[in-house]
């Protein structure tokens, strides 16, 4: 943020210290990951199929968690129907991919590169439309009531998919082209995080946060609360749809079972664990919760017990989530290098409250 004050400085410094260690660690992992992905793309097979699959899932989960965080954490609308939007995106994009046919004028690889983002976008738009249609009537509700309404909606979509001819019911849709590569997954995850981050840190984001804090005061400040609630819901739904499309083209098979309440809860878990309102928190929680069941595989049958236990312990000791509402952002990056170079901190007079704290 733009200002620093001397108050609460001690606490801020302690947090900062902790973060300065966390940030380079995260950065190192990210760079390493990108090198791996790049090598992979050049044709070196470094990462096994198994790890590649986990990474792709992690990227998809990042999209899901961050988009749900926009709805739940930033705007404060308790929605548990995210899997429903995902399903809309998955089915629409999968069906489009299967029915596009072969374009004669380009090679199959080129066709995939052109077709895939378009198909994902279509899936996202379909999900956004669903979000708009659901959002307008249900967003009058608050808290628990909204949660139940969105839960019901998620189930409706699943049951519709189960009964329609075009979705092939419980048999699901098979042999979807396997377009989702690590590259695509990472690209869409990064784009999602950047777009949502920028929205949150703008006027629009402030309006959404105001609604979370106090809807009546927000109205009195000239914020069109209905507009922003529906908007946040629609944007969240759009990205859930994109993630659904990525998942469909990764697993190459989708059925209504994959988009039940449990899937919604799983996404919600990532958001709550990372911290409602913290985008970076959601990203990290999505990675951790995707990796955890795999890491714990050696425990065999006890795996899910430990997984659940970890969550319980975390919620007891950090009920606000790993990051609360804090973000690990570029100011941390700056302050990290500034504290390394030493005197630069003091050479900047306008920073009166020590190194750059972020909100």
């Amino acid at each position: 943020m733009e200002t620093q004050t001397t108050t609460g400085l001690e606490k801020a410094k302690a947090v900062e210290k902790w973060r300065t260690h966390l940030f380079p660690a995260g950065l190192a992992i990210l760079i390493l990951l990108n090198i791996l992905i790049f090598m992979e793309h050049l044709g070196f097979s470094i990462v096994s199929r198994y790890y590649k699959g986990i990474l792709i899932l992690a990227f998809i989960n990042i999209i899901l968690a961050v988009s749900l965080n926009l709805i739940n954490g930033i705007t404060g609308l308790f929605s548990i129907g995210h899997a429903g939007f995902m399903a809309v995106g998955a089915y629409v994009s999968a069906l489009l991919s299967l029915n596009m046919g072969r374009w004669e004028f380009v090679s199959p690889q080129v066709q995939a590169v052109i077709q895939f983002p378009l198909v994902l976008l279509a899936g996202g738009l379909a999900a956004a439309l669903a979000g708009l249609v659901i959002g307008i009537p249900t967003l009058r509700l608050r808290g628990d009531y909204l949660a139940i309404a969105t839960l019901g909606f998620g189930e409706i979509i699943r049951v519709v998919a189960l009964n329609l001819n075009i979705t092939r019911g419980a048999r699901g849709i098979a042999s979807i082209p396997n377009y989702t590569s690590l590259w695509w997954a990472q690209l869409f995850a990064v784009v999602t995080v950047v777009i949502i981050w920028n929205i949150v840190h703008s006027n629009h984001g402030r309006a959404m946060v105001a609604i979370r804090e106090d809807e009546i005061a927000a109205e009195a400040m000239g914020i069109n609360t209905t507009y922003y609630k529906v908007l946040s819901f629609t944007i969240g739904a759009f990205f859930a749809g994109v993630a659904g499309g990525l998942l469909a083209h990764h697993l190459t098979f989708i059925s209504p079972k994959a988009f039940d309440v449990l899937k919604s809860i799983e996404i919600l878990l990532m958001v709550v664990l990372g911290g409602l309102g913290s985008i970076t928190g959601s990203v990290i929680a999505a990675i951790v919760l995707t990796a955890l069941p795999e890491v714990l595989r050696f425990l065999q049958a006890y795996r899910m017990v430990i997984y659940a236990g970890t969550l319980v312990v975390l919620m007891i000791f950090r009920p606000q989530g790993l990051f609360g509402r804090a973000e690990v952002d570029l100011t941390v990056f700056k302050s990290f290098f500034r504290s390394r170079t030493g005197e630069e901190v003091t050479s900047r007079p306008e920073k009166r409250g020590g190194n750059g704290g972020s909100a």
Partner: protein, 255 residues
């Protein structure tokens, strides 16, 4: 021409007639007080003026426009700012962010600029931050810009709420018990602040207050509400000696 003209507004909740036949005319620059015993319908009047409630009868005309039935964010944009009886700050946000939120209208960038963080996004954001800070300076809160709003002392929370309401560029400011919970010294400071604000921003102010000493010193005209009806209107002096007002506050004299 009157800035605000309220014609015969009435509202009932179930069987309770909370406000009945309320009339009001505010000239630009006036400072008018609304008093009355608890439950007289004062805050209900405010809620109707700001669009939180729709009146069942009557009209509200603001700045030549009929605003009856408009949504409250629209009414706010037209120039009516308000504070709340039980402070409604964005509690978990910083003092600065509280004021920044009120600068919604000032964001001069579109969605494209938001998503790509273009130059006009950054300029506009900087402008908003500067404005918000200067607003805080007026209220002597700039030193606490980074603090979480709910951690401020009570008097400062009240001031912050006024600062936030002013950020919306109101022509008419509605203050709902601004001195509630303040000690005598803070009340006196508030008195000076309100007088100064009115001059500085050429505001019209309409306020509800229970602190009689503040109302009598501050307001040029006072309305007294009881059981949803205006029982008296006049200068502080007239109100002080009005038998109906004394009756409403103290009860009928035993004969």
């Amino acid at each position: 021409m009157a800035l605000l003209k309220v014609e015969d507004i009435s509202i009932s909740f179930g069987g309770l007639r909370a406000v009945s036949g309320f009339n009001l005319e505010l000239k630009p620059g006036e400072l008018v007080g609304l008093i009355g015993p608890n439950g007289a319908g004062k805050t209900t009047v405010f809620n109707i003026l700001t669009g939180f409630y729709q009146p069942q009868e009557g009209r509200v005309i603001f700045d030549g426009k009929d605003i009856t039935g408009l949504g409250c964010h629209k009414i706010n944009r037209l120039g009516i700012g308000r504070t709340f009886q039980n402070i409604r700050l964005f509690n978990e946000l910083t003092v600065l962010d509280n004021v920044k939120i009120a600068y919604q209208y000032a964001g001069r960038y579109s969605w494209r600029h938001t998503i790509f963080r273009t130059g006009s996004y950054r300029r506009s954001e900087k402008e908003i931050a500067d404005w918000a800070l200067s607003r805080l300076e007026i209220f002597n809160l700039d030193g606490k810009a980074g603090e979480i709003a709910k951690n401020l002392p009570y008097g400062e929370q009240r001031r912050l709420e006024i600062a936030r309401a002013l950020a919306g560029r109101p022509k008419l400011l509605l203050l709902d018990e601004p001195a509630a919970g303040m000690n005598p010294q803070e009340t006196m400071e508030l008195l000076e602040l309100i007088k100064w604000l009115r001059k500085e921003f050429s505001l019209t102010i309409f306020l509800i207050e229970h602190d009689m000493s503040l109302v009598m010193k501050l307001c040029e005209r006072i309305l007294v509400l009881d059981y949803g009806m205006t029982i008296a209107e006049g200068s502080p002096e007239e109100i002080r000696n009005n038998p109906r007002v004394i009756e409403a506050y103290l009860g009928e004299e035993v004969s």
